[in-house]
């Protein structure tokens, strides 16, 4: 049995320790907002926050995250600036990539609260959005950066 701390709750799962975190979250814990797309750390769509840091859950084993606090998009409060900005700017198209991209943004803004356009480009250059919602992502990131929030994360 492996204990995982996800969105403020502790769950025990009976899996092989080298199972990728992605599949444990999706298949064992039913947290399907964490998406599979490439499986090789190329797209960023499976991103979760590990003690606040964006990591690609397809490329980290469940064993490696024991003892860390994992956040998925459900663990981010609905009034978090990133979520508000994403709705305000009507960012998602198919929406499949968005939880991962939003989590990477949460991490980025926590380190760079007032980013320039160039910094945004650089920080989000390694994620894939096939629908092409990038122009709106950029606007939403700027909007979120401009908001001050006491909300933060849930846990």
């Amino acid at each position: 049995m492996i204990s995982l701390h996800v969105n403020g709750e502790v769950s025990k799962v009976d899996v092989d320790p080298d199972t990728p975190l992605l599949w444990v979250l999706r298949d064992n814990l039913g947290i399907t907002s964490v998406k599979y797309t490439c499986g090789i750390a190329e797209c960023g769509i499976c991103t979760v926050l590990l003690d606040g840091e964006a990591v690609r859950s397809c490329s980290i084993t469940v064993e490696e995250v024991v003892g860390s606090k994992i956040l998925t998009i459900e663990g981010i409060a609905d009034d978090h600036p990133v979520k508000i900005a994403w709705i305000e700017k009507q960012v998602p198209q198919c929406g499949y990539c968005q939880p991962g991209v939003m989590l990477q943004t949460v991490d980025f803004l926590s380190r760079v609260p007032d980013p320039s356009g160039e910094q945004i480009n650089e920080a989000l250059d390694d994620v894939i959005c096939r629908c092409g919602s990038h122009p709106r992502m950029k606007q939403a990131i700027k909007l979120a950066a401009g908001m001050t929030s006491t909300a933060g994360v849930k846990s």
Binding site: T32, G39, C94, G95, R130, P135, K138
Partner: protein, 715 residues
Amino acid sequence: MTIDITRRTFLQQSSLVIGVTLLSNSFELCNVSFVRAGSELTFKPHAFLEIAKDDSIIIWMGQTNLGQGTHTGIPMIIADELDAAWKNIGVKMALAAEPFKDPLWHVQLTGGSTSIRHRWDMLRQVGATARQMLVEAAAEKWGVSAEKCTAKESKVFHPDGRSFSYGELVETAGKRKIPENSQLKDAGKYKIIGTSKQRLDIPDKVKGKTVYGIDFTLPEMCIAVVARPIAYGASPQSYNEQAAMAVKGVVKVVPIDDKIAVCAETTYAAMQGRDALNIKWSEGSHPDLNDEYLDALFVKHLEQPGAVGKESGDAEEAFAQAHKTVEESYKLPYISHAQVEPINCTAHVEKERCRLWVPTQGQTVAQMTASKITGLPPEKVEVMTTFAGGGFGLRGEPDPVVDSVILSQALGRPVKVIWSREDDFANDYFRPGSQCRIKAGLDKEGRVVAWIHKVAAPSVMSRVMPQYVEDGIDPDAISGIRDMPYSIPNQLVNYVMLQGVPIPVGWWRSVGYSVNVFTVESFIDELAHKSGKDPLQFRLEHMEKGSRPYKLLSLLAEKGAWNSPVTQGRARGVALTFCFESIVAHIAEVSVDNRGKIAVHKVICAVDCGTAVYPDAIKAQAEAGVVMGLSLAFHEEVHFDNGGVKTANYDEYPVLTMSEVPEIEVHIASNNLKAGGIGEPVLPSVAPAVSNAVFKATGVRLRELPFKTELLVSG
């Protein structure tokens, strides 16, 4: 028992339900409020619109939600004609059913940018009819004539100011016949159409609550991954079933034709089980197939005369007599859909019915496929369309339906088939590659007098709708050429259907236009240059003055300040598309450094899609079109080797990313014409606008996609 409960529920909260019956050339609305009463507990709506006693309004959707905005745009049209309060509107995905078939094509699908343009009259009629019934119901209750009553914000008003809410009227209205005299609004009276509502599906997508096909789950469900041939025509020679079964969680190994499925309790177990199979494949049918082989094959085909796809005047003669001539060749690669959610389908086959949960763009095809495999009549196959993580045409294909239905039958359990990303690239139905040769002649005034265009390309239609391929002509393969928006007196279009390759090709966003608009719009630019004219002016001179494309291009010239000087070091290029009943044009502003690196600084897009139903969704699609168009221009190309697909994952198939996305400006031409398509027309003219700008900047013409930027190295 069940029915009794349902009826009681219904009697307590009856609704007005409007359905649609499709006739061969038209449609008829029907009042199905009564049918609703007798339906089973899980209501299978054959309806577009349902208004309940509590004023809530449900609009049932038959179109797939791929994030394109139609799940808000369609309700906007109905709600506007209904004079509904927008806050009352809710949207639900319906099971696949007759009324949701395309009224012109008679199949249920989401493709061809048809969702609204093929239903423009129908959707408005649904809303207007329900409104009329509600008004008549109120008039009946008040004993006044219906003409004296007005509807507004989900209420009907008596001339003296009294009102009934729609919910209060549904019972009376539900008993009325469909009126014959419901009036559609004049465009000037629209209150919802033309506004930018918040998209209804976005909050859930932001919260991570949206359930895509790949997320769908059922009790007792197995997850399956299927090993598919690694080369075209290959089949398994040997494999280790025992090793697969030894993986914890693997339930069963099932060979299906030349594929081997591994079914397991979890996705990861299924994937590991598949790896453990260690399959030895036969060589396949085309062991020599690789990029060079393909290229040579296209070149060889282009030498053949080809079938005549269009002939007007005497093009060869006019070319021979022309004052100046230009002749060039162009080349485009096979490209992949690369939609982010891998292909998947969940099936549960039982004795009397088969249920599918699938992010499909082709409900009818899915239904017929499952019906054929199970032997159940189509009406016993329930197709529930889930949200889809992109599609761009690929999701019309039934492959995952086939595998999941067969496996559910084999296991007696619900089965979800998931493709890995590698499966997705290897088994795509690609946008065909294409090569062409174009020659044209100009007269002394610099007008194009002859245009001769020969295309060698594989045919999509021969596979998916062979009935439309006549005399060797696949109309899609020459779309954008045969119907180019320029009037040229002498034209000859030839098509050589590529034979001898096993690579399956399919529909890909904007289909043939994604290929041919690049070549036509590049070549018209070459001709403008040859005649010494401004490329935008040159295009206008070859269009009917005052026509829609003429006006749109003029609008773009104005908005994009075409005639004012461009920022130092940059150059502009222009290109135009006319397809799916809409016109889109782009101006790209670029600079090129001496290492050949192209920077796209800004793209200005003008759109005429008739009535702009949902401007913010149009804008979102136009932005997306620029991003995907640039992605094609700079990166996308599928590679082949050893008789199969070489490209395996996104690391070998880069798509455009954040730092490459330019500033994008979208201008929507406003008019009251019939709504046209938007998902596809926004794409094709992006790449040629950029290469035309690159030519302006450097004098080098890029005639191949993705761009071979090494041609631009200058220092």
